[in-house]
């Protein structure tokens, strides 16, 4: 008996943890909710009496501002109070069965569910649902009535394209999942929703296409998401940092994007996406360095220009990384390695500049970072002014005052422009930061310092993995067909398979169009011959 006691005892304890079961008494339930939501003045309780003699007591509870008032008025209150009078069900039928009748026949709201747990009921109310409580039955009907003021769908600001859809994600997860659904009408597109944050209860949805995704990655992601024990997550950046592999790294191991088309395309490649409520930024897993250089427009434009732009972006990353360092190395250590005319020109422009090349570069780069940071903080119109004042006037004045050489200003400007050419902001940040390391190394060891920097950086990158996928793939563990979508973007006909590195169960992406055509033509001919 002790054995059973233990089991049952445990079960009871567990049940208590799960929540407070509701009681048949309306007053008791309402008291519990009111007690829990004490001092929450935005909660609205509405007592309703229905029936011929107003003998049945109901109550609805919702939070003002979170619910769609029209929905409650038209589909709950109106139905209960007015429409139900016109119907004339027999009293016997209603008697003792009020709950069933109302749930099935009266409420015209679309999405309802019933629960018997008061704590869950409170959570639903807090998420914007409306609770309908009955006197005489423990079931509570939760009417989905979320409808708050939200930003409408607008173009993604950080990832604008010339050609491509203008839709960006919004702050509401339901809208965002719908935006992705609209791209992929496949029953295999799964949206697994969990809540993270012990206080915020933020909705987090993991999206994947079931027969494409690598199960190991999916399990890893789900496991890591479930292991998050934090009081609140704000922005997908929280989740990104909590589930990524190496937090020491300056490189983002999870891609973030505002574009539904990018998410949909990634899902079809065999990646998975995480959408978080209250933020327009979706996370894409796994991410490699090459994906940070892909813009969704690459796939919409013709392949030649896309390939050229890809190469340009990779070059831009290298320029953003090392151009000030190269300037330092060449002026301070190896003037002999650049053409004599250029050496003389550099020497002439640096005449009278009181600082060594390293400090000159450091001052200008730090000033530029300062301007950029100030520009972000300031309101848009003033931000532009600061850009002009900072960029043009300070640069010009610094050159005229003889503090920096004009060449240095050009280097800084080129570096700045190059760092904006990297499509992913988080990746651009990494290159921007590492630039300073390279400057220091170049100041100490010249060109060798830059090479040393590359050795260390490459070591870090070859070690790094994103959910089991090497960060530098497909440049490492080479697969030729994967390389077609990295430094260049091959014509779309060549993408017959999904990326090898993602280890997808279903690799085929496209069938050979030509081969099929010939077959079908041959079939036609054969049919024709048969008829003859």
């Amino acid at each position: 008996m002790g054995f059973f006691d233990k089991i049952f005892g445990k079960k009871e304890v567990r049940k208590k943890k799960d929540g407070m079961p509701s009681s048949p008494s309306l007053k008791q339930n309402l008291d519990y909710i009111k007690n829990k939501l004490k001092d929450c003045d935005d909660v609205i309780y509405r007592d309703i009496w229905v029936g011929e003699n107003q003998q049945y007591n109901l109550a609805i509870v919702f939070i003002d501002g979170l619910v769609d008032k029209d929905l409650i008025n038209d589909h709950v209150l109106h139905s209960l109070l007015l429409d139900s009078r016109q119907a004339n069900p027999s009293i016997e039928k209603i008697k003792g069965n009020l709950y069933e009748v109302i749930k099935k026949g009266t409420i015209t709201g679309g999405d309802i569910k019933e629960i018997t747990d008061l704590d869950k009921c409170i959570l639903s109310i807090l998420s914007g649902d409306t609770a309908l409580l009955f006197n005489g039955s423990p079931e509570i009907v939760i009417i989905s009535s979320k409808g708050w003021q939200m930003r409408s769908i607008s173009p993604p600001e950080a990832e604008t394209v010339v050609r491509g859809p203008r839709e960006g994600f919004t702050e509401t997860i339901r809208v965002n999942t719908a935006l992705v659904r609209r791209w992929i009408r496949d029953p295999n597109l799964k949206v697994k929703q969990i809540q993270i944050g012990e206080r915020t209860h933020t909705d987090v949805a993991v999206l994947y296409v079931e027969d494409i995704v690598d199960r190991n990655v999916l399990n890893k992601v789900m496991e890591r998401l479930k292991n998050i024990k934090i009081d609140g997550v704000f922005e997908s950046g929280y989740i990104e940092q909590l589930i990524e592999e190496d937090w020491h790294s300056p490189f983002p191991q999870i891609l973030n994007t505002e574009r539904p088309d990018k998410v949909a395309a990634s899902l079809l490649e065999g990646r998975l996406a995480i959408l978080t409520d209250n933020t327009p930024f979706a996370l894409i897993i796994p991410t490699t360095l090459a994906t940070l250089f892909q813009s969704s427009e690459d796939y919409y434009e013709r392949w030649m220009i896309s390939s050229l732009l890809r190469i340009l972006r990779f070059l831009a990353a290298i320029v953003a990384l090392i151009s000030p360092a190269v300037y330092i190395a060449f002026t301070a250590y190896h003037p002999g390695l650049i053409p004599t005319k250029l050496t003389l020109y550099v020497a002439a422009t640096r005449q009278g500049i009181p600082f060594p090349a390293f400090f000159e570069a450091l001052i200008m780069e730090a000033t530029f970072e300062l301007l950029r940071e100030a520009g972000v903080r300031l309101p848009v119109p003033i931000g532009q002014t600061i850009g002009i004042v900072g960029g043009l006037i300070i640069g010009q004045a610094a050159v005229q005052a003889g503090i920096v050489s004009p060449l240095m200003v050009i280097v800084v400007a080129v570096t700045a422009v190059a760092s904006f050419a990297i499509p992913n902001y988080s990746a651009a940040i990494a290159f921007r930061m590492l630039r300073f390391t390279f400057m220091i190394l170049a100041a100490v060891f010249g060109l060798y310092g830059i090479m040393l920097g590359f050795m260390i950086l490459l070591t870090h990158l070859v070690v790094l993995k994103s959910f089991g996928v090497p960060y530098l793939s497909p440049f490492v563990e080479i697969d030729i067909s994967d390389l077609a979508d990295t430094l260049i973007k091959a014509p779309i006909m060549y993408f017959k398979n999904r990326p090898e590195i993602l280890n997808t169960p279903d690799r085929r992406k496209m069938r050979d169009l030509r081969g099929e055509k010939i077959e079908s033509i041959e079939d036609d001919r054969r049919d024709g011959n048969d008829k003859k």
Binding site: L337, G446, Y448, I450, M451, T459, V463, E477
Partner: protein, 369 residues
């Protein structure tokens, strides 16, 4: 036991072999062969490559008989345990010497071409620490690093020589094979220093996933290394002639200096070549470094090789500083490649091969009786 995440593919082995073999030797190879065989340098390199291929396949064959063991373990079964330990210690020492030699030559070249006022000690120690950082993470990242560096090393070096094509005088390769065979073999022996590196196959086998494709991988690696060397030797001897080549310490760099790029804004490409060459040396150093440390950890039967990575730095550093000048460095390099390398590349595989056959037949005899 070998952890699953420390396995690499046959393709990666192929590239790792290439980047390991192509190292400091590339600088002096044309001069080395010119000294002995005169205009027949190209053929000597070719013959050296074929010989290397033969012995590499032999080492591979030996290792494939013990697919889960490294040299340290399987040699004990062939030669007796004490001798096996002795050979393994020498092997650790041998790999360490190559790290020291490579890093020293690297320091010397860098000092002459890029950083005349930086003390060579700083260059050596930073290079060793950079390599140690990578070596600590094990074989998988090392193989990936080689994959990244391979195109960076090969493509620019192949392209850089092309503008010099018109300066090649084919008569520099004449007279054809008019030397004694003994001299030719001696010349071949001088190419060993450049081909050294495939000894890592002694240890690599248990870490490879698709061992069946390994034969092809080794072939590809050694033949492409050979072609790469022949390409460079062809340009250097073709332009300078063997008489001029053999007088130079690093004819490769002299040639680079002499190439003019009228189209580019960069007048001389030394900076670029130094950068690429840094990677070339780096890729040899980390490979030898890793296998030195790996062999040592296998000797002591420790689970992780990473304990020995940092303690190895001061040893390699001090060893690199033993020779007092670049001339002595090359003298030592000559000793090492002519005695130790020949032992590990040629004599040891043959010896082990015979022992294996004898032992196998002995075993089957025992089975019969």
């Amino acid at each position: 036991m070998i952890k699953n995440n420390d396995k690499i593919s046959a393709n990666q082995v192929s590239i790792l072999l290439f980047t390991t073999m192509v190292g400091a030797g590339i600088l002096s190879l044309p001069a080395d062969v010119s000294k002995e065989v005169g205009p027949n340098g190209l053929i000597a390199v070719f013959a050296g490559g074929i010989a290397s291929l033969f012995f590499a396949r032999m080492i591979l064959y030996l290792s494939s008989k013990f697919p889960t063991e490294t040299f340290v373990e399987y040699s004990a079964k062939l030669v007796t345990k004490p001798i096996s330990i002795l050979i393994s210690i020498v092997l650790v020492f041998y790999f360490t010497i190559f790290v020291s030699l490579d890093v020293r030559i690297f320091g010397e070249v860098l000092k002459i071409y890029l950083l005349p006022s930086t003390p060579i000690e700083t260059i050596i120690i930073t290079m060793l620490f950079a390599s140690a950082y990578l070596v600590r993470y094990g074989l998988e990242p090392i193989a990936r690093m080689s994959e990244i560096l391979f195109p960076i090393i090969v493509i620019p070096l192949v392209l850089l020589f092309l503008p010099a094509m018109s300066d090649i005088d084919l008569s520099n390769f004449l007279p054809f094979m008019r030397i004694s065979l003994v001299k030719f073999f001696k010349g071949m022996l001088f190419t060993t220093y450049s081909f050294v590196g495939f000894e890592i196959l002694y240890l690599l086998f248990p870490y490879v996933i698709d061992t069946k494709r390994l034969k092809k991988g080794v072939n590809a690696a050694i033949i492409s290394t050979m072609l790469f060397y022949m390409y460079i030797t062809f340009f250097v001897i073709g332009i300078f002639g063997y008489k001029e080549t053999k007088e130079q310490l690093w004819p490769f760099l002299t040639l680079i200096k002499s190439i003019n790029f009228p189209v580019f804004f960069i007048e001389n490409v030394e900076g670029i070549v130094m950068g690429i060459w840094t990677f070339t040396i780096f890729s040899s150093i980390y490979s030898f470094y890793y296998f030195a440390v790996l062999t040592f950890s296998k000797l002591l039967k420790t689970r992780e090789h990473s304990y020995f990575v940092l303690p190895a730095v001061p040893i390699m550093y001090l060893m690199a500083l033993i020779p007092d000048s670049i001339v002595t460095v090359y003298k030592y390099a000559g000793y090492v490649s002519q005695y130790m390398s020949v032992f590990f590349i040629a004599i040891l595989p043959i010896l082990l091969f015979i022992l294996l056959k004898v032992k196998r037949s002995g075993d089957s005899d025992e089975e019969k009786t």
